[in-house]
Subunit: 161 residues, 4 copies
């Protein structure tokens, strides 16, 4: 049952490169294939790509939207939840997931990464922020491809936690 | 597809009477039968009963939990989302739904009803708060049974809105 | 020192009658005279009147604004804090105060009253919602004038709590 | 009047070095001397030091606390506001200020920096995160001492904005 499945947050920018979109779509496919749930911001770019990948593979995708209605939701969400919180909804994505995968991304993505590390969710990165400050190196675990990202995220996010 | 389905918030107390629990379970069954999504607080009492009714009827239930993890989620949720917001998560339930059905309930339920009316979500009540203040009478639409509640909520919550 | 002073939330509608505005202004004067801090929504109507009363009497007023900037703040605030949360900022007013005084008010006010009672903040009412449901009667303590409201709120909100 | 004054967010860790604490205290003194308001997280470490500096210099300090009560507030706050939001209150600090000064800091500080840059608040850093990603270099403006930090923050945060 999904409520017992791991929830994997997938984060990245609404303006993304072709390569990032392809990575995100593959991440979505693999999460779905493993029976886990995707949590994302529910809009475009990386959010759209991961949603499309997961839904086409029969998975479940929850979109936590910044706005007050569903008008900007991407068409691939299983559940679209308007929050009315603007960018503060990023924190809800972090809270709702057991582990995060970051694909590329800019300031919004970095805020989610940092909050995740603050509250103890592991973060796995595909071409995303690398943090070099002493004590921070390696905190975002760089992975080489979507398969490694998803396996690592599932290993870091025990079912039902 | 569920993202285009209406989302019906179902609210009520974690401490509820047998009659309220039976009403909530029936509400859940009927929402599921109509292909709509249940949004609730994800814990016990009315939340547990509506989740059980909907899930047993093949429907989808989203629980927005007050705590920081899934440990207090009821076992009937399709999607269990910890928010870490405490009672402030009530406002997210209101934001995320198109219409609300209130079954019994105490202060938490009243706060959700009032916020819903503030932001324009219609509210239908089964044995819940009746507000008699001038201008407020009838704002919570009293309905006589779960079938009337669900039909009224769906009529008040157009698909995709 | 203000951080040790009681914090009294004062709530009511942005569209208020002359009588309600006069009551709110007097409530603000009396809270200031007692050295307590006013917490309010920071905009117009009752919020403007209580802010004016408190500031003119040398008190301190914190406005928790629904928008993302200070453009709609009333001119009487000591501290104006944009939250970007929309109506969800009502919950922050409740969290930030030790007791509430409600002057008139509509749905937004009712949501704050109900949430306050849910989380254990006492509520004192001047011409506001009266809740007649069994178990709820008397939960909003009806008071007859601003002086009684402020004395009751201070008695219910011990310094430093 | 403070409501028209700039609001400068000062962020940094609750576990800080002696040097960071001295920097933060000086930042607080200088913000107060310029008539601006300090917004911070209201607890210990850098938050305590900046609050002490500002208050001793006659300034005003607002603490947005993560917990549900004031028990962990530092003793130097002018206004102590419990939010009950946990680490999500970081986003409120960003929303409420016109510019930020970061002193040292770990993940929580980085999440605030990133969110600030996402929503357009300038950030000035004293020994804090340096972000080297293409497009990000220089986004956190490194300054050399508290005086430069405060002047830059005030220049980046026009009064009343």
């Amino acid at each position: 049952m999904p409520a017992e499945a791991p929830y994997i947050g997938v984060i990245g920018a609404s303006q993304a490169s072709e390569r990032e979109l392809a990575l995100a779509e593959r991440v979505g496919e693999l999460i779905a294939a493993r029976g886990a749930v995707v949590i994302c911001g529910g809009e475009g770019g990386v959010m759209d790509a991961v949603s499309r990948g997961a839904t086409r593979s029969g998975g479940m995708v929850v979109g936590l939207l910044p706005g007050e209605d569903r008008s900007r939701a991407n068409p691939w969400l299983t559940v679209a939840l308007p929050t009315g919180l603007g960018e503060l909804r990023n924190a809800l994505i972090v809270r709702a997931c057991n582990a995060l995968i970051a694909v590329g991304g800019s300031w919004g993505t970095l805020s989610e990464i940092a909050l995740a590390l603050r509250v103890g969710r592991p973060v796995f990165g595909l071409g995303t922020w690398e943090l070099e400050r002493p004590g921070a190196a390696g905190a975002v675990v760089a992975v080489s491809d979507p398969a490694e990202a998803v396996e690592a995220a599932l290993a870091g996010a025990p079912s039902g936690s």
